[in-house]
Symmetry: C2
Subunit: 335 residues, 2 copies
């Protein structure tokens, strides 16, 4: 790990720069002020839930995205995983592959990362900074705590369970489409709606407040990051079940609904878009009421979108008339 | 995390390829067969030591290095950190940034990673695979266990302590010099010596067997990865001390000694080279004998190279006559 000042002659200006901006984030005693080769976690009887997600320039964020939004996205995509697993954030380590260590980039990056670390009570524990001639890459490994054996899996969905999702779906995919230009860009003329959609792409809202609620109620859970349709297929695959989803019940923002109404984009495109970072989970029927009530108290909207059924088929999406909708693609794939 | 097969239509051939080769490595029950978004660690009262190190094509390994050596290096540089901290390996997560998911590369990469995971009892717990248009990058976050509060720090060195180092220093830097061509390449005509030096660059030998010995005896410890001189300066800086090192006592392999004798390379260059992945630690005098004895029983050579002294100066290196040697540079720096 080398997010630290090298003492002695080898301390280059860039090493000092990195230490100057990242050391203030290492508030946890187990980070040892970033002065050591490793961090230490003391879990006090909990299981440590570990998740790792990397974001790459040109793939997960755009070359001209502001450094503060890149920092927030890198951490938040991991916090989203922890929340879906029912885990309370405990800390993270960071690998930063940079072409140059520039103050103008590092300063806002570290400041935003620090704000998020405080907001989500997830301190920086350590990291590694490497130079790369290629695209910028930010890799985060985040740690959360759950009582022993209580991590919520993808594998627990049973026929009859309700399928629920937090927030709204498809906004981030629309935000990316706006940033890329094209027909969505041309159609999204309302400034506030545009900004909201772009914001949803650049800065996900991890549902950290749902962690305990998911743990208390869900039979299976995952975060929606590669498209709701594809991610549901994964959850069903691991659980050995299928599902029927009522497409009109998939929650959309007002901005997304407007674009659907005007025929700019179809609902089936939105459920195959990526970067939602909402939680999708399944619940036995007797948990639905308490789940909805607890989510409401936490200030997070949740929607019932369908039901788990027996079988090994890819989940079905039906329209308002009960007719099946054939999807061209289920999700975003890296390769 | 997505080192897994996506079920359903979105499962591309490449996703399946990744799952086919990596799933067999996920032998720990906490890896959930790579079928989930996260792994779980159950530490049983231990502290979890966390370290993260990334290796980048063209920076830490060469574009034509074989995939099996890249895999081993990525894991071993992290195991080296754990050993220096006194921690017993518990598992790791992997972020792989690839241009393409090719069977010809993934198969030997995963096979070698799996062999090392078994050899060092450090199973794969999860990971993330992302596509990149840039250089290949392998980022590993590794976990180790120590009894509560027993991680060995950089910060414990005291005046009067002995400075010890495992193995030999400078071989990897010579191996890299051979691979790059130039005068070391021309001079290293002995095939076996050449192969040994290149092997030391490509595949470090993490001193995992030293973990408990370091924990039982060292006052401060770190692994030597960026050059012995620079790394010692870091350890001294954090400990608030200085050191005097007897340069002829710094252990060299027979191949390195031969190149020094023939005037091809100087000892001062070898102690500023990188990639040694040996353990450097400090010991109070009353621990030296037991430390040396335990290391011998573990089959690992250790050498006494100098002593910690009071003060804040950069560590001094003296030649066989007690004269100070001025170093041009202390270590490799990324930026």
């Amino acid at each position: 790990m080398s997010l630290r000042v090298a003492s002695g002659k080898s301390a280059s200006g860039e090493d000092a720069l990195i230490a100057r901006y990242f050391r203030p984030l290492a508030t946890d005693p187990g980070a040892f002020g970033l002065d050591d080769d490793a961090a230490a976690l003391r879990p006090d009887g909990s299981d440590i839930v570990v998740t790792t997600d990397a974001i790459v320039e040109g793939v997960h964020f755009l070359p001209d995205d502001p450094p503060d939004t890149i920092a927030r996205k890198a951490l938040r995509v991991n916090l989203s995983d922890l929340a879906a697993k029912g885990a309370i954030p405990a800390g993270f380590v960071l690998t930063l592959a940079l072409r140059h260590a520039e103050e103008a980039w590092l300063k806002p990056f570290a400041a935003a990362l620090g704000e998020d670390a405080v907001q989500f009570a997830c301190p920086l524990l350590g990291g590694d900074t490497v130079s790369t001639p290629g695209p910028l890459m930010v890799s985060v490994t985040a740690f959360g705590q759950v009582p022993p054996g209580r991590m919520v899996h993808r594998s627990g969905a049973k026929p009859g369970d309700r399928v629920m999702v937090t927030g709204t779906i498809g906004d981030a995919a629309l935000g990316l489409a706006i940033l890329r230009g094209g027909k969505v860009h041309a159609a999204a003329s309302d400034g506030a709606a545009r900004d909201m959609l772009i914001g949803r792409y650049r800065v996900p809202q991890p549902r950290v407040a749902m962690a305990k609620i998911v743990r208390d109620h869900a039979s299976a859970s995952m975060d929606v990051s590669d498209g709701l349709a594809g991610d549901l297929a994964k959850l069903c695959g691991v659980s050995g079940v299928s599902a029927v989803i009522d497409l009109p019940s998939v929650p959309l923002s007002e901005a997304a609904r407007d674009l659907v109404r005007r025929g700019i984009v179809g609902r089936e495109t939105l459920i195959a878009g990526g970067d939602d970072y909402e939680i999708m989970c399944t619940l036995t029927e007797d948990h639905v009421e308490a789940f909805v009530q607890s989510a409401r108290e936490a200030g997070i909207a949740v929607s019932s979108i369908g039901r788990v059924i027996a079988g090994g088929a890819v989940p079905k999406f039906i329209d308002g008339n009960g007719a099946e909708i054939v999807l061209e693609r289920l999700s975003y794939s890296h390769f």
